[in-house]
Every structure is written in structure tokens, then in C-alpha cells.
Amino acid sequence: MAVISAANAVKEYESGSKTLRALKGVDVSVDPGEFVAVVGPSGSGKSTLLNLLGMLDVPTEGAVTVAGERLSELSKRERTNLRRDTVGFVFQSFFLVPTLTARENVAVPGLVHGDRSELIDRAESLLERVGLADRLDHYPNELSGGQKQRVAVARSLVNEPEILLADEPTGNLDQDTSEQVLDVFGRIAREDDVAIATVTHDPQVTEYADRVVELVNGRIES
């Protein structure tokens, strides 16, 4: 069963008197362990789709289902809880907290809920998994771009999500470091059965993906 899916999803934005139709009925679903790349020119609605799948936004029409729960039936609070438990985010500009070490940055999502006794240990083992065992106590400004993004990936995994949503994860990285990050993605998908959906311009990403979805002008082309 798909871990996350959108059915006939429409998203409209009001801008002034005009209504902007960013998504014009999109069907997409991602299975556990699957690595899906969403590509398309800018303005095609890629990020909007990612926001819908990540429950950061709600569709104007259509349905989004995450882990068997229909988004429209959840309160804001329940949506935040579901997002916390099932979705991890990775962003183009990393968004690490500059005053926290790598280990602490990874632990941040776990600070507000659940059992914190294992949190720091889990953060360490995740950093080891992304190949940063020797960077636990480094601050973001002591890390390279690729290392920062791998810290961000570790952070997105700390709540043990079922799906990882990545918005241009290699957008700020060069080819070599991109490769390191993509390797990590591939390993997580294979070993942990975590689904990965990423929005990208980067042809290198599509090479790693199991499936490529092309979005043009708010519709899926292939």
C-alpha cells in the first residue's frame, strides 16, 4: 500500500483578484522504500505538490492520504502529529540551527515529544549512518555543504518517518557531495524501507531514482 498519495489534487492560490491554479488535478502515490523524483520546469507546481504531500498545506480539491489517514479529516493538531511521526523533510538550504552541534541539530525534532532519554544516542547513530561519525560535535559553520545536508538528512530521520520529502536536496551542492547525499538516500530507501520523494532540477538525482514523475504546468506528463 502506498505510504503517501494524492488523488486528483488541485491547489489554487488567491493572488489579488486572480486565482492561480498551481496544481490541476494530480494523481501520485509513493510506496514504501520507493525513491521517486519529481521533475519539471520552475513554476510547474513541484514544490506545491511536495507541500501537500508533507501536510504543510491542504489541497483545494482532491484528497491527500498519508499512512492511511485522509488529510481532510484531521485537525491541525492531528496533522502536525501525523507529520511528525511519518514525514521527514530535507531542504535545499539545510536550515540547521547555527548554535547547535551536528548531534544536537539531529536531536531537535525529538525535543518536544516522546522519550528523550535515547534521543542523543539515536542522533549519534544516525550521524554514523550518514557517514559523519567524526563530526558529532562540529557546528554547522565547521561543516561543508554536503556534510550539512547529511546532518539535515539525519535530522529528518530522527522521528523514524515512513517517507522523506526533499525539496532540491542537491540544489546547493556540487557533483561529488551530491553523490554522497544521494547515496545516503538510496541506502535509507533500501535498508529502512523509507520512501523518498524529491523535487529536483538535477539530472543526477533522476539517475538514482526508481521512478521519475514529470510535472508540467500543474499536470503530470509521464
Partner: protein, 379 residues
């Protein structure tokens, strides 16, 4: 920072503290604002209390005394020995006598007019600058500092009062502000040197202001049993009340000034928190994306504001206690002479400082918590 003991216990507090360390100068300045506000409230309050105490302490000769004069309905113009006896039979405290006249005073080089006081116990009314005031005296004179100046005399010289020569036993210190017998321009003589044996004023000296008020009431009842006022009995109760009331007004005014500086400080906290909320928009968006509820973000931002307040207020209290010690040392001659009231001002400054930061953190925190994560994350 989050993975130490404290962080495990209070992760949000540790997180908030780490956020504050991001812009150290800004954090320090915002704290300094609160520190100044708390310092203003606490030290102005403490200073006021210490000043009030020092005045009352200086004035203890007045506040602890009851003085008697012939009343409206008296059949005598001055007290005689029998009146003194009458008063003495009602009180356990010492009763002193005072006589007052004006006379010409001459010395070797100059002469002038002055007040002449006859005191049975001059040590109770004045202190010596040079020379010594005798406990029990029958001869000699004490001279006020201004008069000693204008006559150009000092201890050991002599002055002539009404044709009688007296040796100067001591030159007095300037009269304190609060004293009601002004001896600066006066000669003090033993009662035996006066031609008359009547007294213009009787003074009962007790051990505390309250005792003085009670004694005064008792004496009034005992000496004036009927409706006639043979003795006019006075104490400083009204005077002290009036003084305390004035001090309360001044203190309120001072606190208002302190309050204003605290308001200014909260505006700066407000500004800092708002700026920080705007600067960290994306980061807060990420927190929301990874499962922080709005309430979690609100708590985080409020924790930052309260930490600013606590830090600033704590420093403010420490500084104002130090300043209070300096004020106490100056006014009360004891650095640790804090009264409960003075410490209350320190506590009040602390509470107000922290509360002000909390309140000015509310809106920025609310704004940060309610920013929609999608918009925050849109680059």
C-alpha cells in the same frame, strides 16, 4: 548544550539559551536594558528607604522625645520646680529642663547678640566638635560653631554673657537638620548661671518613637485631667506621619521613573524578539515541519524572552544590592542595614523585570508560532 544534564531535563530551555547565544551582542544589550530598569526600581526604592531611615535616625532626639510647654490655660508663664516635680511623678524617663533668653555676648576681639540656652543636660542636645561636654555642670559655657566663628573664640577662651565671664568648655558641632533646638549661634550655660529658676521647656526623653507617643498621651491625660490645658504636651508623631507621607510620595515618583526605564527595556526586548522571529522565519518553519506544534514554538520563544528577563533582572538585583550597600554605608553607617522594605524593592524589581520581558515576548512568540510553515519555507 542540549545533551548535557540540564538540557535533558529542560530541553526547551537549553534550546532557547542556545538561540540567545546566536546574537550575543544583541542579547547582552537587551539584557542590559532590563538590568538598568531593575536597577532603577530597586536602587531608587532602596535609596529612598535608606534616606528615610537615616533622617529618622538623625532625628531620634526629636522623635523619641516629649516636650512640654505652659498650656493655654496655665496660671504660670514658665515652669517652676513644683511643675517639674509633677511631671516627674508621672514618668520613669529622665526629664530635662531648658531655659532660653537673648543677650549680648562679648569676647576679646568681638561682640554680638546671641541666644542663651540653659540646659540641665547639654549632652542630650548637642555634640562637641572640640573640647568636652560635661555630664553635670555648674560652670563654664558651650558655644555654637557659628558664634565661635563670629567671636573668633575657641575652646579654652572665655566669653562674657550679661557681664559674667564664662570659660568655654567646648565648641559644638553644627546642629543636625532635624534637631529642634538650634545651637549654631548660641551659648549654652548651666541652669545655675541663670538669674531665674523657672524653665521654658521640659523634655522627657524615651527610648523609641512609639514610647514617646505613649508617654505623651499618658502625660496629657495625667497633667490635664479636666478640660483646661495647663500643660501643652507635644510629640513628633504628627511630624513623623507627615514626613513618612512625603517620603511615600517621593518614593512613588522615583518608582515611576524606574518603571519608565523598565518600559523602555521591554520595548527593546519586544524589538529583539520580533527581529529574531523574523530572522529565524525559515528555521521556525522547519521546526513546524518536523512536528513542533504552535504551542511548542510559542514556548520556545517565550522561554527566550523570559531568559533575557531573568538574566537581566538577576544582574540588576545583584547590582542594586551592591549599590544599596554603598548607600547604606553612606547614610546609615552600616552596609548591611537593609530593611525588609528595602529588600522588597529588590524583589519587586526582579519580578517586574522578568514579567516585563515575558509580556513583551508574547506578541513576537505568538507571531512566530502562527507563521504558516509553507510560507516560511518558500525561498
Amino acid at each position: 548544550m542540549i545533551d548535557n544534564w540540564l538540557g535533558r531535563r529542560f530541553p526547551m530551555l537549553a534550546f532557547a539559551r542556545s538561540n540567545l547565544s546566536r546574537a550575543r551582542a544583541r542579547t547582552a544589550l537587551a539584557m542590559a536594558g532590563i538590568t538598568i530598569g531593575v536597577l532603577a526600581i530597586a536602587s531608587l526604592g532602596m535609596g529612598g528607604v535608606a534616606f528615610q531611615q537615616s533622617i529618622l535616625q538623625d532625628a531620634d532626639t526629636v522623635t523619641q522625645s516629649v516636650w512640654l510647654m505652659p498650656g493655654e490655660d496655665a496660671d504660670f508663664a514658665a515652669f517652676e520646680e513644683r511643675h517639674l516635680e509633677e511631671v516627674r511623678q508621672y514618668v520613669d524617663h529622665p526629664v530635662y529642663t531648658m531655659q532660653q533668653e537673648s543677650a549680648g555676648v562679648e569676647a576679646k576681639k568681638a561682640s554680638t547678640g546671641a541666644t542663651i540656652y540653659g540646659f540641665s543636660h547639654p549632652g542630650e542636645f548637642a555634640t562637641a566638635d572640640t573640647g568636652q561636654i560635661p555630664d553635670n555642670w555648674r560652670s563654664g559655657a558651650l558655644v555654637g560653631p557659628d558664634l565661635a566663628d563670629s567671636l573668633d573664640v575657641q575652646t579654652g577662651d572665655s566669653v562674657v554673657v550679661d557681664g559674667e565671664r564664662h570659660r568655654i568648655l567646648a565648641v559644638l558641632e553644627p546642629t543636625p537638620q532635624s534637631s529642634f533646638v538650634r545651637t549654631d549661634n548660641a551659648v549654652l550655660l548651666p541652669p545655675s548661671q541663670f538669674d531665674r529658676s523657672t524653665y521654658d521647656l521640659l523634655m522627657v526623653r524615651t527610648d523609641s518613637p512609639n514610647e514617646a507617643f505613649e508617654t505623651s498621651e499618658d502625660l496629657d491625660g495625667s497633667l490635664n485631667p479636666g478640660r483646661d490645658e495647663r500643660y501643652e504636651v507635644n510629640d513628633a508623631e504628627q511630624l513623623i506621619d507627615q514626613f513618612n507621607q512625603q517620603m511615600a510620595t517621593i518614593n512613588t515618583f522615583l518608582l515611576a521613573i524606574g518603571g519608565i526605564s523598565l518600559v523602555v527595556a521591554s520595548v527593546s526586548i519586544f524589538n529583539v524578539m520580533l527581529m529574531s522571529a523574523i530572522e529565524r522565519r525559515e528555521e521556525i518553519g522547519v521546526l513546524r515541519a518536523v512536528g513542533y506544534h504552535r504551542l511548542d514554538v510559542l514556548r520556545l520563544m517565550l522561554a527566550e524572552a523570559v531568559l533575557l528577563g531573568l538574566g537581566g533582572a538577576l544582574l540588576g538585583v545583584v547590582l542594586s544590592i551592591l549599590l544599596g550597600m554603598a548607600i547604606n554605608a553612606e547614610l546609615l553607617a552600616d552596609p548591611l542595614a537593609f530593611t525588609a522594605e528595602a529588600l522588597q524593592y529588590a524583589a519587586m524589581g526582579f519580578v517586574f523585570g522578568t514579567l516585563a520581558s515575558f509580556l513583551s515576548g508574547l506578541y513576537p512568540a505568538w507571531k512566530a508560532a502562527n507563521a504558516r510553515p509553507v510560507e516560511a519555507l518558500r525561498d
